[in-house]
């Protein structure tokens, strides 16, 4: 490691870096909660507006060139003078009143920012007051980037908030499937369960319209991929009377089998679920075994803590979702954690707590040195965020994007194709 981090020894001489080491480090990417919530909502369909209470540039801390909802994002556009003098509430009140009278959406979500947090701006009462006066549901969230909240915690906060906008149902029916990847492959779960006689109330959060969140309490059970990442949502569902069950990220044969097995077991319909999956579960065996013969013994670097995303399936289990797929195909997985080298022991302890004490682990500080680190650990391929694509390619290693995997049996051909692409490069 000394070759990779030559300055660490010198840096440690500085009291500053010693203090840095004492900062609590977790595996997850830290985030600005305003940025992350804005990002999460930018492509959600529905009749709602987002107000960012702060300076106008806070509208730019998420990618709005991709989202359909950017047309319904607003900023109070506070000036430095307004912030310094504390005249921040009138612009907010004015904007909310305009929204209520001219745009009149089904809901308004007001997000705080760092500048208003620094001056302790008491903006929530204004939001509640305008909401009460106009009858437009409005919710105020004290979001900002000062506390370095983990991405998953922020997502949980958002989902619990969205779930809180719904009314309690008179009758409950069906199940929620929470934390699945977006895309058509997740629809397999709906088809399988409905074939087994189970009604699916909704797939959350990634395929969901804004108004679908208002129905989330209508189910009797929720199956959550890594409920530890969404404790607030889980608590909201439990306190509403739902049974909440943990399920794995359904990527690969083993994890998909476990997923359906757990759902069938908890609902008391194991045989029906098995019957509904029997054909598709065996359909990929030959291809799987053939690929396994090509991949066995190869080393793959699985990079975590580098992905900036609002997809909970990618954040679940600290981003180790594809681990069992890779191991199931005979590959040796080395986990590469992006972060400060001085937090190495913290990262190691977290992996052990997840039951992965046996995994090889290294730390890399940022995408720029991923190629060197991956080469040093003997990786034949890398699974990482797209932001490091160039670096990894320049190191001569094939890569698969962390977000490329598809779930359930329907996703197996795609996943095998991705991995076969690696084998092709070695050939």
């Amino acid at each position: 490691m000394s070759r990779l981090f030559p300055e660490v020894a010198d840096a440690r001489r500085e009291a500053f870096w010693r203090q840095q080491e004492r900062r609590r480090q977790t595996l997850g990417q830290p985030c600005c909660t305003q940025s992350n919530m804005s990002w999460s909502l930018i492509d959600m369909e529905g009749d709602f507006c987002v107000v960012i209470h702060g300076e106008s540039d806070c509208l730019n801390c998420f990618f709005h060139h991709n989202g359909r909802r950017a047309v319904d994002y607003y900023s109070t556009r506070l000036s430095e003078t307004q912030l310094v003098s504390g005249h921040t509430l009138e612009p907010l009140r004015h904007l909310l009143q305009l929204l209520a009278t001219e745009r009149r959406p089904a809901a308004v979500i007001v997000l705080g920012t760092c500048p208003v947090e620094v001056i302790s701006d008491p903006f929530e009462p204004v939001v509640h007051e305008v909401s009460a006066a106009t009858g437009v549901p409005m919710v105020a969230l004290r979001t900002h980037g000062l506390t370095l909240m983990r991405l998953v915690e922020c997502q949980d906060w958002l989902y619990a908030t969205l779930a809180g906008l719904g009314e309690p149902p008179e009758q409950r029916h069906g199940v929620n499937l929470i934390g699945l990847p977006p895309g058509a492959a997740s629809e397999e779960a709906r088809q399988v369960l409905e074939a087994a006689g189970v009604t699916v109330n909704g797939l959350y959060p990634n395929q969901t319209r804004f108004d679908a969140w208002q129905r989330i309490h209508h189910a009797t059970h929720s199956f959550v991929v890594d409920s530890s990442t969404v404790p607030r949502l889980t608590e909201a569902l439990r306190s509403g009377g739902q049974q909440v069950h943990d399920v794995p990220v359904p990527i690969g044969l083993y994890q998909t089998g476990r997923y359906y097995g757990l759902v069938g077991d908890r609902l008391g319909c194991t045989e029906a679920v098995q019957a509904a999956t029997a054909a598709v579960a065996r359909a990929h065996d030959d291809a799987w075994l053939a690929l396994k013969a090509r991949l066995t013994g190869r080393v793959v670097a699985l990079c975590i803590r580098m992905l900036k995303t609002h997809r909970t399936d990618l954040l679940a289990y600290e981003g180790l979702g594809p681990l069992e797929l890779l191991r199931g195909l005979g590959m040796e997985v080395v986990v590469l954690v992006q972060g400060p080298p001085e937090a190495r022991e913290t990262f190691r302890a977290r992996l052990e707590a997840l039951g992965h004490a046996d995994l090889r682990m290294e730390v890399f500080r940022g995408p720029w040195e991923l190629g060197v680190v991956a080469t040093d650990v003997g990786a034949d391929a890398v699974v990482c965020s797209d932001v490091a694509r160039k670096v990894v390619e320049e190191a001569g290693l094939p890569m698969i994007s962390s977000s490329a995997w598809r779930p359930f049996y329907a996703g197996i051909p795609h996943n095998l194709e991705l991995l076969a692409g690696l084998a092709d490069t070695w050939a």
């Binding site: 500053f16 806070c58 310094v84 620094v118 980037g145 995303t309 797209d386």
Partner: protein, 451 residues
């Protein structure tokens, strides 16, 4: 009068910090140190979607400021991070930025940067990037100004016929800018001049010093007046010439004529070059002009680009019916009209809107599309984004054509030279019109799936 909903709504332009990041990205060995909040980091990574050739995030660092630092004093973080990153990256120039919420604590960030960088082997500049006013052009211009101030303009220009550009908007290393710069270099060569260092154009920091050798500095519109740079190069006998962008056939010829004049080159040689190049462009265009002639188009762009693009499209026989001018720093409607007047063009017979919000773009452009009064829209991915949620049943099977131009592009990337400036830029844009994607090209994978 109070602010309207339109005033509060999201606009297509970005803030100063994004502009600073674009300019730092345009200096090959620059390093951008962000003394900002964790969310502000995202303001500087929009380039990841835009530039597929050089990832911007490899030369950016963050001082990891959090609430504890605001209480204890955050500026003490700058020195250690500066030293550590310099050892790792061996940069040619370091740019440090801060943001409003940190400045609100009253710490002397600028002074801390100056003290931390004392005795350093490479220059370090603190650049303003507060997010309460200005736009990405202001941020970009402030970096151009910081670099221009370090050029030894007082030295006598050793190459009187070499031309340097100041204020060229270089936002990626892809083929559009390589094409533009190739066009400009070729045109200058044809009149007996040459292209020197361009601020900015993807060169290493030290390479910009050779701009002092140039006998003429051409100032392009992206040097925002708000940055107060002035014309420090106008010394030691060096000439300075402010121009619009060399876009369209006539616009390019005007530019070349003005540059030739400022260099004191023989007018007949310049005119001969112009005649030859105009003819060389018009021939291929004539072969297929019927394919695009008469198209009714909306253009969404900053003022200089809008001026150039409207003229180019008009030359191609298209009819521009709606123009959305982006940003605050380049003169708005008045600047647009003034540039057209400078070019000897009539006021544009079209709706010209200053700083439309994304919501207004969707409403007004969407309404023109639904009424069948528009066949295509040209703008950045941010400006085109709102159109993607228009109801499909109103707009026909595939919808209008969309051409990405400006920052950021999500779908348009150039492996080879695809200029939009110079004579070649006219042909390249006509080619883009011929193969323009439609609003709904179903089945295309997301080009950049990571976030």
């Amino acid at each position: 009068m109070g602010m309207s909903l339109e005033d509060f709504a999201m606009k297509p332009s970005y803030g100063r910090l994004t502009g600073v990041s674009i300019a730092c990205h345009a200096v090959q060995d620059a390093y951008l140190l962000l003394h900002v909040g964790v969310g502000c980091k995202n303001k500087v990574t929009h380039l990841l979607a835009h530039d597929w050739e050089v990832p911007c995030n490899l030369r950016q660092g963050w001082t990891e400021v959090c609430d504890e630092d605001l209480i204890m004093g955050s500026s003490r973080r700058i020195g250690p991070y500066l030293r550590s990153w310099q050892e790792r990256m061996d940069s040619g120039w370091v740019c440090v930025v801060s943001v409003l919420f940190i400045e609100l604590t009253g710490e002397d960030i600028r002074g801390e940067v100056r003290r931390s960088a004392e005795g350093w082997p490479v220059p370090v500049d603190f650049v303003d990037a507060l997010g309460v006013d200005g736009d990405e052009v202001d941020g970009y211009a402030s970096v151009v100004a910081a670099i221009a101030r370090r050029v030894p303009w007082q030295q006598r220009p050793s190459r009187p016929r070499q031309v340097s550009l100041v204020g060229y908007w270089f936002d990626r290393y892809e083929g559009d800018h390589a094409g533009n710069l190739g066009q400009i270099a070729g045109m200058l060569k044809s009149i007996g001049a040459s292209l020197g260092p361009v601020l900015l154009s993807g060169r290493r920091f030290d390479d910009h010093q050779a701009a002092a050798d140039s006998g003429l500095v051409v100032v392009l519109p992206y040097v925002s007046p708000a940055e107060g740079l002035g014309t420090p190069w106008k010394t030691a006998g060096r000439e300075s010439l402010a121009t619009d962008l060399p876009m369209g056939i006539a616009g390019t010829s005007r530019w070349l004529r003005a540059v030739g004049g400022a260099l004191g080159l023989p007018a007949d040689r310049v005119e001969a070059s112009i005649r030859m190049r105009e003819e060389r462009v018009r021939k291929p265009l004539a072969k297929m002009v019927g394919r695009w002639r008469g198209l009714r188009v909306a253009v969404l762009a900053d003022v200089p680009m809008a001026v150039g693009m409207v003229e180019l499209l008009t030359e191609l026989g298209c009819r521009v019916v709606w123009v959305g001018l982006r940003g605050t720093s380049l003169g708005g409607r008045a600047g647009f009209d003034a540039a057209r007047a400078r070019a000897g063009l009539e006021p544009l017979d079209a709706e010209v809107v200053e700083r439309p919000s994304l919501s207004r773009i969707r409403a007004e452009v969407g309404s023109l599309l639904a009424a069948g009064q528009l066949q295509g829209v040209i703008g950045s991915a941010t400006e085109l984004g709102p159109l993607r949620s228009l109801p499909r049943e109103d707009l026909g099977e595939a919808g209008p054509f969309l051409l990405e131009l400006g920052f950021p592009c999500r779908d348009f990337h150039c492996l080879t030279q695809v200029p939009f400036m110079g004579y070649g830029g006219v042909v390249a844009f006509a080619q883009r019109l011929l193969t323009a994607p439609r609003l709904w090209d179903d089945g295309r994978p997301a080009p950049w799936s990571g976030t």
